[in-house]
């Protein structure tokens, strides 16, 4: 059984194309299944179009949930990217 991890972050900026791209590129390097949820919608973190389709905006809570062998590292990495990438806007 591989572990599952999740963590929430409050976005400091809108999740525009570039931060969504950075998130999906990073997510694609993990083997874990990774989902991001915001505003009641969930997307595959490895799908840049899915992440952009969430339309997540500044102030919204976004949850990153991963399951698989590298789930813990994946959640930590993506939360860090979200904190950094949405700060400056896309």
């Amino acid at each position: 059984m591989s572990a599952s991890y999740e963590q929430e972050i409050t976005l400091e900026g809108d999740l525009h194309a570039r931060p969504a791209g950075a998130l999906a590129v990073a997510a694609g390097r993990f083997t874990a299944v990774i989902r991001v949820t915001a505003g009641g919608h969930t997307a595959d973190a490895k799908s840049v179009l899915g992440v952009m389709g969430l339309g997540a905006t500044s102030g919204q809570h976004l949850t990153v949930k991963a399951s698989g062998p590298d789930a813990r590292e994946a959640v930590a990495a993506l939360i860090a990217i979200l904190g950094e990438a949405t700060k400056v806007g896309g």
């Binding site: 969504a20 791209g21 999906a24 590129v25 694609g28 799908s47 840049v48 389709g53």
Partner: protein, 132 residues
């Protein structure tokens, strides 16, 4: 992660459209993937050019293969004709995908280290992702 990433060739009837889509895909994916715009005819008119596609395939191939995205149906004919003459056809995949969304999804997957199959699949899945 393999050292080389899959290259992308965007074949459009319009040089500006191909260039714009390439720029967008490069920016969204962080600029680590070779994205080649092959748009317009050799004279710069609207249309497609076998020479531009062929040149684009050579420039895009960094050793991990190439995924080609055509904008409209008739660009497919030109790409297929070029691929018939292309040396290593197994390393080049023609993706059936929406042009802009497919270019962005393919480039992001290439940046993450996906192989030609994964990159083409990402482009083709773009058809099913809703914007609203």
């Amino acid at each position: 992660m393999s050292p080389a990433t899959v290259g992308i060739v965007l074949v459009s009837h319009s040089a500006e459209l191909a260039r714009g889509a390439a720029q967008l895909a490069e920016q969204v994916s962080g600029g680590t993937v070779t994205v080649i715009a092959a748009g317009g005819t050799d004279d710069g008119d609207l249309g497609t050019s076998a020479a531009k596609v062929s040149h684009g395939l050579s420039r895009a191939d960094q050793g991990a293969g190439v995924v080609v995205l055509p904008d409209l149906g008739s660009a497919v004919l030109v790409v297929k004709a070029v691929l018939e003459d292309h040396g290593d056809a197994s390393s080049v995949v023609l993706a059936d995908a929406p042009f802009v969304e497919g270019a962005v999804a393919a480039t992001v997957t290439a940046a993450a280290g996906g192989d030609v199959k994964a990159v083409a699949a990402a482009a083709e899945e773009a058809r099913h992702v809703r914007k609203l």
